[in-house]
Subunit: 415 residues, 2 copies
């Protein structure tokens, strides 16, 4: 039977919204793969009484409790002390952890203040998770029916520690694993997607099917439980194929790296290269592509020509054209795509120019107007988009423009 | 007295970690400004029983309950139905909301499927929050000691609706407002910062002082409660000045847009311009700068020269230099900074080249090795950084490199 789990994030900065609880999402997404289901996620401040009460409640209703945060050196880092009290454990100093913390400071040439030593105090008998990414170690222990796991809060530490220690610690071969496959659908609204898939969603049990609305697209998750990841993957196959058939050109199966990852894999398969000239997206497309390791094989780079002068100096666009048609125009987008392609000697070139706002809009060229061009040297298509009709934020308009440019690239590579 | 509030995020996709609960952080950060304190944040799945139980618990212990998500058209969107049941309200169809939803579909040329109509069903007597950013309206109603507020889940809708409707709805002049000012400290560890500020933190009541560790830096929050924002701002002044005095060159007060925003304001003040040539950061610096509206005044653009060929073709760097010293070298970083500055005719130029990983490292040039150069035409400084010593992720190495480049720019502009 699946174990029930509960995530408790500790930190007043989370409760007050000064930082976002990304740890919760990360851990939850990993736990479900090893048959541990998250039923509750709670955020509590650095308050010993409220933390103790959340822990007692969790101990009663869940099998596995994972806390994040509150393991650091400062006086409001209280998680270990409260957990030790609630579960009747003694905290003992772990010399190996202490040595690791000392080494951390020595390597960085920083003085280790005495308050750092308490990071090495851990519940007696716990399995210690060495923190290779920071100072505070994590740990796990069993107490009656509960498995209690503590992880440090910073995502750069919490995430790799989840993968390296927590998943192996919790894996039980007899539980099977949940394997997910994702399909992305563009240019079809969420409710229309659901209307078309309604019956499939109701009747699908293993694999299950669920839709999620994402920026400008809908993501479908097909998930199957099976003894191994390979069997689960295969079990999802027929449903994935069926859905791809329903949405045709508007849908594709994601490889985990989203649209940029899909474009990357298509470029690789075709042996083709890409570059981008960006104005209103200001480097976002380049950033999204270069988020992917190994992308230098196919993505040669880009220019962020944020000023008119840069459009001429870097790409050689005629200043008279910019004066005549305006920097935000079909003609300039076209030139950007064609010229960046030549500059970087790539097979495909993207050009994006628009008004991301909130300022700079006019009645003729409102905020959200973006021209997106794609050129392969023979043919250049330009798409005129109006992303501002819904009072969208600057961030959202830029994301929509970048995603649309990559989706145009995807369609060109496929057809 | 401050009202206690509780945020309940509804959605199996949140519970399973498929999306991150950014709404919780956003709402919490806004509520505290109007004297509403968040004591609990909970995530529940699309499960009517567990949602009802979370609502009943919240109604008992909190004054204000804010739910996010579950207002959409699909059959697992249950928030309104469950809230209506728990608080004994009837759902009635709101014709104005229905007209707005119809108009939304008409404008986008999409067919409105019948399941969308239920988005216009709202609790009788509720104040309706028109959704100018999407379809599902939000609302608020009073029930005994509780104020119950429902908002749609997508952040692009939830965030502006919080600002436009929720904050005015909850504002009570007699509660006063909390005003925060933020100081960023670079190159000093979290524990060393706290050791130096420990006494100040303990003794500061209004304003309060709290530290938060962020990527490669520490953020300090100084927050004061006062009748108006202006008075709160002034009340924070002496403590802010004191802290800036303690950390000198390593600290500065943030204007809300982080390090890029601070660099932007310094450039504007000095009447200077900036451009960036990026290799391993792949457009991230351009993206961070152009996240800021109006930045085109000072940031002229950048090049993402991800391939060696692009470094030569776009910037004119001698291929022989790249062959001899390697693309990741002090010499190439220097050339990138100096040449991008000339290409974009800016006062300052940034050059970044390094190995973001996870592949591509060698014993001599390991993952995380990054050279960062800054040139003003007279002087070019190059900083050699090793961001990989802590097994950092590609994402983290890129973020560290971009932040370091901007921090070097900040220091140059200041001194």
């Amino acid at each position: 039977m699946a174990r029930k789990s509960e995530l408790i994030a500790v930190g007043t900065e989370l409760l007050l919204g000064e930082i976002v609880n990304t740890d919760g999402a990360y851990i939850a997404s990993r736990l479900k793969d090893v048959g541990v289901e998250v039923y509750h996620q709670t955020v509590v401040g650095d308050n010993p009484e409220r933390l103790a009460s959340a822990l007692r409640e969790a101990a009663g209703r869940s099998d596995v409790i994972v806390t994040t945060g509150g393991l650091g050196p400062t006086y409001d880092d209280l998680t270990k002390e409260v957990i030790a009290r609630v579960f009747g454990k003694k905290l003992v100093r772990d010399e190996a952890s202490l040595a690791h913390i000392r080494e951390f400071f020595r390597k960085r040439g920083r003085e280790m203040t005495p308050n750092n030593e308490k990071q090495a105090d851990l519940p007696e008998g716990a399995v210690i998770f060495k923190n290779l990414w920071g100072t505070a170690p994590g740990c796990a222990f069993e107490s009656g029916k509960n498995t209690v796991i503590m992880l440090p809060g910073p995502p750069a530490e919490c995430e790799p520690m989840t993968d390296t220690y927590v998943i192996p610690y919790l894996t039980r071969p007899e539980d099977g694993v949940l394997t997910s496959r994702f399909i992305r659908v563009w240019d079809v609204g969420e409710s229309a997607v659901e209307a078309r898939l309604h019956d499939l969603m109701i009747e699908s049990v293993n694999p299950t099917l669920a839709p999620y609305a994402k920026y400008g697209s809908v993501q479908l998750r097909v998930a199957a439980k099976a003894p191994t990841r390979e069997e689960g993957y295969a079990l999802c196959g027929p449903l994935v194929e069926k859905i791809l058939g329903i949405f045709g050109d508007n849908a594709y199966e994601e490889n985990g790296d989203g649209l940029p990852g899909f474009v990357f894999s298509l470029l690789k398969k075709r042996g083709m290269t890409l570059s981008a000239a960006e104005s209103c997206t200001g480097g976002l497309i380049s950033k999204m592509m270069t988020d992917l390791p190994g992308v230098s094989e196919v993505f040669m780079g880009g220019v962020c020509t944020y000023s008119n002068q840069a459009k001429s100096a870097l790409l050689g666009i005629d200043p008279a054209l910019i004066r005549e048609k305006g920097a935000v125009s079909e003609e300039v987008a076209r030139e950007m795509a064609e010229r960046v392609r030549l500059r970087f000697s790539t097979d495909l070139g993207i050009g994006v120019t628009g008004i991301a706002g909130p300022g700079g809009g006019t009645p003729e060229k409102p905020v959200g107007l973006v021209y997106i061009a794609l050129s392969d040297g023979k043919r250049t298509e330009v798409k005129k988009c109006e992303f501002g009709t819904l009072r969208r934020s600057r961030e959202r308009i830029r994301a929509d423009a970048a995603n649309t440019a990559l989706d145009m690239t995807r369609r060109r590579l496929l057809g």
